[in-house]
Symmetry: C2
Subunit: 246 residues, 2 copies
């Protein structure tokens, strides 16, 4: 199966044609396998079928390749969070929790990106573009928090949206880092990371005075075009947000 070097070269000619992209893909695979620490520039070059020096025509050094991947990761992250938020449809709380699940899903399904973004040890502010991409992703959470904060029950002081966003981010990140990745996922838990985060966010929102039970989907009925955002439910889901304690 494995081509010898000459055959491979013969097949693609002296110039690769798309080496930059090939290197990014190779690195992504290697990071997924062995983590950002175990990934080597030389391996990526081998996998793309070029010499060890070739990558330097496309990346200043190994770190720049890594941070390119992190940046791409933040872009995909932002796009998934945005899709999950779906501009707050069908209602703010439901959409908000969907964002939380999307956070965990990303950590689970894109371990290579997540690793490069959060666990590779590269400084966020090394690259301006990287930092900007990271901020755009956070802004999705922040915008969602703004909408949520605007729904704060009357009579209570309105929580600062920025603080809410940071809180939610820290919860999602904490759960993802501790329980939803690689070996850490092997810790035995009484519930899935998704359930854990969902309960955590629900309890938190209740602590802010939100009524967090969503109305059951009306069968066959379309959701109203502009759902009346006044919380409609009564109080607490039976058994609390964590389900029935046995």
């Amino acid at each position: 199966m494995s081509w010898r070097k000459e055959e491979r070269r013969a097949e693609r000619g002296y110039h690769h044609g798309n080496l930059k992209e090939a290197l990014l893909q190779a690195a992504l695979g290697l990071i997924a396998e062995k983590g950002a620490a175990g990934f080597t520039f030389a391996d990526a070059a081998r996998m793309a079928g070029v010499s060890a020096a070739a990558p330097y025509r496309h990346f200043r050094d190994r770190d720049e390749l890594l941070s390119s991947i992190a940046q791409r990761g933040f872009e995909q992250f932002e796009s998934r969070l945005t899709a999950a938020w779906d501009d707050g449809r069908p209602d703010t709380v439901t959409a908000f929790e969907r964002v939380g699940r999307a956070y965990l899903a990303f950590a689970r399904e894109e371990p290579a990106f997540y690793n490069a973004m959060f666990e590779s040890g590269l400084p966020v502010d090394a690259n301006a573009a990287l930092q900007a991409a990271s901020e755009r992703a956070f802004n999705v959470i922040r915008a969602a928090a703004e909408r949520l904060a605007a729904l704060a029950p009357p009579g209570t002081p309105r929580p600062p949206a920025m603080m809410m966003a940071l809180h939610i981010w820290s919860m999602a990140h904490g759960v993802a880092s501790l329980f939803s990745r690689g070996d850490a996922a092997r810790r035995k838990l009484p519930m899935s990371p998704d359930e854990l985060l969902e309960a955590e966010v629900l309890i938190y929102l209740r602590g802010l005075g939100f009524t967090t039970d969503r109305r059951p989907p009306a069968k066959g009925a379309e959701p109203p075009p502009v759902p009346p955002e006044a919380p409609s439910g009564s109080s607490v889901p039976p058994g609390g947000p964590w389900g029935k304690p046995k």
Copy 2:
């Protein structure tokens, strides 16, 4: 200032006498400086004044040194959390929050340990002793959560202590990872990581039905030996747990 090799050797003789400990200390310093990724076995050996092969008499390989440090870190972590918890004195909620602050303080003040424990990428379950030490540290949080859960207000379903512990752990870990370490700490925040976590935990506890304002310390009065644990305060601190929104 820097001894030449022969002089150093002359001073300490052929045998170092305490190399294992010296290597651990050297590694700790190097990790604090350059992160677990940037730390090298050879550097630690140099710093201890021995050849590059000497460390292999005390550690199977570089990873074993790293995991020794992580293990030591978990032990110190446990001891600091235990001290902060102080068996729930003067009252459970106060002590609980002190544990949260201790978590952040550890991340801030012992970056080398924290790095080895949580950011070095070494699998937690590689080493049985390491895993055990990690679990002992978590058990401090868990025990505190048990006590807290026992105080759940009557009439509401009692939250599972294990879940509470996991929630608090994820919050502390999320805040520490995102905002309280190295470059990440440079993200501009509307409040300090400590305040952020404290508000987060308070809101969470309120969401569970706890009354989280502590009584003001009676001036000059000793705290009662066994504080009556029935929540004594009335409701919400003025302005909510996050202080006055401006």
